[in-house]
C-alpha cells in the first residue's frame, strides 16, 4: 500500500478536556482510496479524534497537526472541513425526524432558484443521491417513518450532497440489523472502488476484519499500532489483543447456570400500537423466566421485542389490551413504571441517550435516579449514601470516569451504558430486562457485562436479554425465545441454539416450540 499517496496525516494530536486527557500524541495516516478502521475500547478516544479531524473541536483547541491533501489544515468548524470534502457521520444520527428525506439531505445546503428553494431540483437530486446509496423511498417520506438502517443511508446521502472525499463513520452499524449492516458495508466497498476514502469506527470486529484495509488501534488516548489487514494477516483476535493489550481467549466468561423454579410469567399478552389502534404489536405472547436463568429474545428489528418488554414494564409502551403477569405465584398488575420498579422489575432501554439517561445529570445522580427511596430517610435524600453507592458501582463496573461527579454527557458511549446498568442494578431487581445491552460496547467491556449478567443470575435473579446479535444470545442465554411480527414463534434451549435455527424461527409465523 505504501505506494498509494497519503490523503491525511494527523500528527501527534493531543486533546484535553478539563480533568481528562482524551488524546495524547495520537498519529494517524490514511491513504487515498482505502477503508481505514479505528478500533479501541470505550473511551479510548476514537470519537474525539474524529471530532478533531472534522473541526467539531476547532483548530487551537487541540495540539498537533492535521495534514490533509498535502497541506496543513486548520479547520475552524465543521463547515470548513466539509468544504474540504471531509464529512463525518456521528455516533448519534443528526437528522430531523419531522422533516422529509429530501429536506434532511439538503438541510443547510438547499438548491436555490432565484432565492427560493427549488424543491423540484431538490427532489430530483435527492433521488439521484438516494440511488447512489441504494435507498428506495419517496424523498417526501418523513425521517421518523423510516427505520434506523434507512436513516443511516440518508446520512450518507447527505454526505454525498456535499461532494465528499473523506467519509468518516462513527459506529455506523451499531444500531443496524444484519441485513442493513451488510448493505452498508457493500456500499463502503463501492465507494472504495470509486476512490472515496473512508474512516470507520466500529466495535463489530468481524465487520472490520471483513472490510478494512488498515486498522489503527487506540488505547487510553494513545496510538498503539496500525495494522495492514492483508499484509499482516489480521484477524479478530489480533485486533482484540491490540485493543485490550492482552489475549482474550474467549468472548464469554465460563458459567454454570444455577437455574431454579419459574418465578416470573407473562400470559397471553396483547398490546396495541399507541397511535394506530388497529395495529397489534404484541399478539398473545406468553413466556416464563426462572430464577437464575438468562433468557434471550431473538428477532429481527421491528419484531416487537422492545414493545413487549416495555409494555410489561409498567405499560410504558402502547395500549394494554389483555394479559396477565404472575410473579412468585401471584398475579401482579403493573400500571406504571413505578409499580414495575416496586415489584422488582428493571428495564435497561436500548437507547441510552434518548430514553435511558438524563444527559444533564452527573454519574451519581443518574445511578440513584430509579430508586431514590433507597437513599431517602424521613423524606430527605442522603448525599453521602448517594455518593458511596455510585462510587461502589463505578468500581464494580469499572466505569471510566475521574469521579462520580462527572456529567454523563461527557462519558464515552460504552461508559454511559455502564452507568445505565448501574442505575438499574441499584434498584435491586428480581427481573432485569436488558434491551441491546452491548450496543456500541467494546469487546473487553462486553465480556465484563456478560460477567455481570451472569453474576446477577447467580444471585437468583431472572435476566431477560434482547439482542440483535445472535452469537451473543447463543453464548450468553440459557434459553431463547424467537419473536416475529409481534408473536413468539419458538423457544430454543441453549444446547439446540444455532444461528440457523434461530434465524429460521425469527422469520416464520409458524409456531414450532421445541418444548
Amino acid at each position: 500500500m505504501s505506494d498509494v499517496p497519503i490523503l491525511l496525516e494527523m500528527r501527534s494530536i493531543t486533546k484535553e478536556f478539563p480533568g481528562v486527557k482524551a488524546l495524547s500524541d495520537v498519529n494517524l495516516v490514511v491513504r487515498a482510496g482505502e477503508i481505514h478502521a479505528i478500533c479501541g475500547e470505550n473511551g479510548a478516544g476514537k470519537s474525539t479524534l474524529m471530532k478533531v479531524l472534522s473541526g467539531v473541536y476547532p483548530h487551537g483547541s487541540y495540539s498537533g497537526q492535521i495534514v490533509y491533501q498535502g497541506s496543513e489544515s486548520k479547520f475552524s468548524d465543521i463547515r470548513a472541513s466539509e468544504s474540504a470534502g471531509i464529512v463525518i457521520i456521528h455516533q448519534e444520527l443528526a437528522l430531523i425526524p419531522g422533516m422529509s428525506i429530501a429536506e434532511n439531505i439538503f438541510l443547510g445546503n438547499e438548491p436555490r432558484k432565484r432565492g427560493a428553494i427549488d424543491w423540484k431540483a431538490a427532489n430530483r437530486m435527492a433521488l439521484d443521491l438516494m440511488a447512489r446509496v441504494g435507498l428506495q423511498e419517496d424523498p417526501d417520506t418523513l425521517i421518523k417513518d423510516i427505520g434506523v438502517g434507512k436513516q443511516q443511508l440518508v446520512e450518507i446521502a447527505k454526505a454525498f450532497a456535499k461532494d465528499v472525499k473523506l467519509l468518516i463513520l462513527d459506529e455506523p452499524t451499531a444500531a443496524l440489523n444484519e441485513a442493513d449492516s451488510r448493505h452498508l458495508l457493500d456500499l463502503l466497498r463501492g465507494f472504495r472502488s470509486r476512490g472515496i476514502t473512508s474512516i470507520m469506527i466500529s466495535h463489530k470486529l468481524n465487520e472490520i476484519e471483513a472490510i478494512a484495509d488498515q486498522i489503527t488501534i487506540l488505547r487510553d488516548g494513545r496510538t498503539v499500532e496500525t495494522l495492514d489487514v492483508k499484509a499482516d494477516g489480521v484477524d479478530e483476535d489480533r485486533i482484540v489483543r491490540g485493543m485490550v493489550g492482552r489475549e482474550l481467549s474467549s468472548r464469554f466468561p465460563d458459567h454454570t447456570p444455577k437455574i431454579g423454579d419459574v418465578f416470573f410469567e407473562v400470559r397471553n399478552w396483547n398490546v396495541r400500537h399507541p397511535i394506530s389502534a388497529d395495529r397489534q404489536v404484541c399478539k398473545n405472547e406468553s413466556f416464563v423466566v426462572r430464577r437464575g436463568e438468562i433468557v434471550g429474545f431473538a428477532g429481527l428489528m421491528g419484531a416487537g421485542r422492545t414493545e413487549l418488554a416495555m409494555s410489561v414494564f409498567g405499560r410504558s409502551y402502547g395500549v394494554y389490551e389483555s394479559g396477565t403477569i404472575i410473579k412468585d405465584g401471584k398475579e401482579i398488575v403493573l400500571k406504571s413504571v413505578a409499580d414495575a420498579i416496586d415489584n422488582g422489575l428493571a428495564y435497561v432501554s436500548e437507547d441510552r441517550k434518548a430514553i435511558g439517561l438524563n444527559l444533564l445529570d452527573d454519574i451519581k445522580t443518574s445511578t440513584v435516579a430509579a430508586k431514590l427511596s433507597k437513599i431517602r430517610h424521613h423524606g430527605v435524600l442522603n448525599e453521602v449514601e448517594e455518593y458511596q453507592a455510585a462510587e461502589a458501582y463505578r468500581k464494580e463496573l469499572r466505569t471510566k470516569a475521574p469521579t462520580v461527579d462527572e456529567g454523563v454527557s461527557k462519558l464515552s458511549g460504552g461508559n454511559q451504558q455502564k452507568v445505565v446498568l448501574a442505575k438499574w442494578m441499584f434498584t435491586d431487581p428480581d427481573l432485569l430486562i436488558l434491551d441491546e445491552p452491548t450496543r456500541g460496547i467494546d469487546v473487553g467491556a462486553k465480556y465484563e457485562i456478560y460477567g455481570i449478567i451472569q453474576r446477577l443470575a447467580d444471585q437468583g435473579k431472572g435476566v431477560v436479554v434482547i439482542s440483535s446479535e445472535l452469537p451473543e444470545l447463543i453464548g450468553l442465554c440459557d434459553r431463547i425465545y424467537t419473536v416475529f411480527e409481534g408473536a413468539i414463534t419458538g423457544e430454543i434451549a441453549r444446547a439446540d441454539a444455532t444461528p440457523e435455527n434461530l434465524m429460521k424461527q425469527m422469520t416464520s409465523t409458524k409456531k414450532m416450540a421445541t418444548r
Binding site: K51, A94, P97, V148, M301, E307, V337, N358, L381, V384
Partner: protein
Amino acid sequence: MSRLKDLQKNLFGGTTSNARQFGMIFTLVAIVLIFQVWTNGLTLRSDNLIALFQQNSYILILAIGMLMVIVAGHIDLSVGSVAAFAGILVAKSMTEWDLPWPVAILFGLAIGAIIGAWQGFWVAYVGVPAFIVTLAGMLLFRGGNQFIGNANTIPVPEGFREIGSGFLPEFGPNTGYNNATLLLGLAAAVAVVWRELRARNTRRAMDADPAPMWVSILRMAIMVGVIAFATLRFASGRVGTSFPISGIILLVLVIAYSFYTRNTAGGRHIYAVGGNSRAAELSGVKLKRVNFFVMMNMSVLAALAGMIFVARSAASGPQDGNGWELDAIAAVFIGGAAVAGGIGTISGSIVGGLVMAVLNNGLQLEGVGTDKVQIIKGLVLLLAVAIDVYNKSQGRFSIIGSLMRPFRRDDPAAPVSPPDAEREPAKAAVSG
C-alpha cells in the same frame, strides 16, 4: 500560585455546593458595590435597603415558583394576572364579606391552588403546552380581576397590610438597634457556619478532600461579614422600621424550597422531567403529577405574591401584577436556568432577581426615567444570558451557571448538541 489556584478552584469551580453559594453572593456584592459608588452611598442606606426588599419580595417569591416551572421545561405567563385576581378576591373578602384577615390569607392561597389546579390540569393531563395554557390564563384572570373589581381599587384593612408593609417588632433592652433583626442576623450567621462545617463533614464522608480549612474560614468570614453588615443596616433604620415581614416570608420560602428542590425526591423529579422527560418516566417518575404540581405550586405562590403586593399598596387595583411574569422569568434566566429545562436553582434565581432589583433601584435613585430603565434591563438580561451561553459553549467557567447549580455540574459539551428531537418521546420508532 498554588494558593491562588486553590482559591479559584474552591470559590468558583468548587466541588461543594457551598463554594458555589459563596461565589454567587460574591457576584451580587460586586453589583451592589458598583451602584453604591455610583449613587454615592445611597444604595446601601438602611431605608433604601428596606424599601428594596419590600418592593421586590413578591417578584422574588414568584421567581421561586417560576424556577421550578422552568426547570420542569414549562413557562408560566399568567402569574401577574393570577396575583391580581387573587388580590382582588382577598380584598373583597375582607371588605365586603368581612372575613378576618388571617382567614382571608388562607382563602387567597386556596384561590391560588384552585387556579393552579385548573392550569395544571390542562398542562399535565390534557397536554396543552404551558405557554398556551398560561397565555389564556393571563387574559382570563386579568379579565376576572377587572370584572370582579369593576376596574376599581378596593382598599384592605390595617391588619392585613402587615404582610406587605410590616416590620419585625421592637422588644427587649434598648440597644439602639432593632433587637429582633439582630437575633435574625445572629441565627443566619450561625446557620452559615453550621452549613459550612456540615458540608466539610459530608465531603469527608464521601472520601473526598474538603476544601482547605483556610478557604472554608475565609468563606465563612466573608459570609458572616455580609450578614452582619446587612443585619446592622436593617436594624438601624428609621424608628419603627426593621427587617420587613415580607422579607421574612421570602426567607422562609427560599429555605424551604431550596431544601425541597435539592434534598427530596420530589425536587429531583422536577429536574429529571426537565432534563429528559421520557427517561424520567422510564425511571418511575410520575410525569403528570410533577407537571401538575409545578403549575399548581406556581399559582399558589402567585396568589401569595399578589396578597403581599395588595397589602403593601393598601389596596387592590386593576393594574396589579402587570408585567410581573416577565420580571420573574428574567430573574430565573439571569440566575442561570436553562431555557430547555433541567437546569437552575432557587438561590440562583433569587440572586438573578436581586440583580434586577438592585439595578432598577440604583437607576431610579440616579433619576433615570422608566423608559431608559426598561431599555437597560432588557439589555442586561440579554447580555447576562449571552455571556453565560458563550462561556458554556467555550467550555469555560460559566459565571452564573456554575456558581449556582446545586447538583448539576456542567452542561453537556456544547459542540455537538443533540437535535432537540432526540429529547422527545419519539416512541413511534421503537425497534426490537
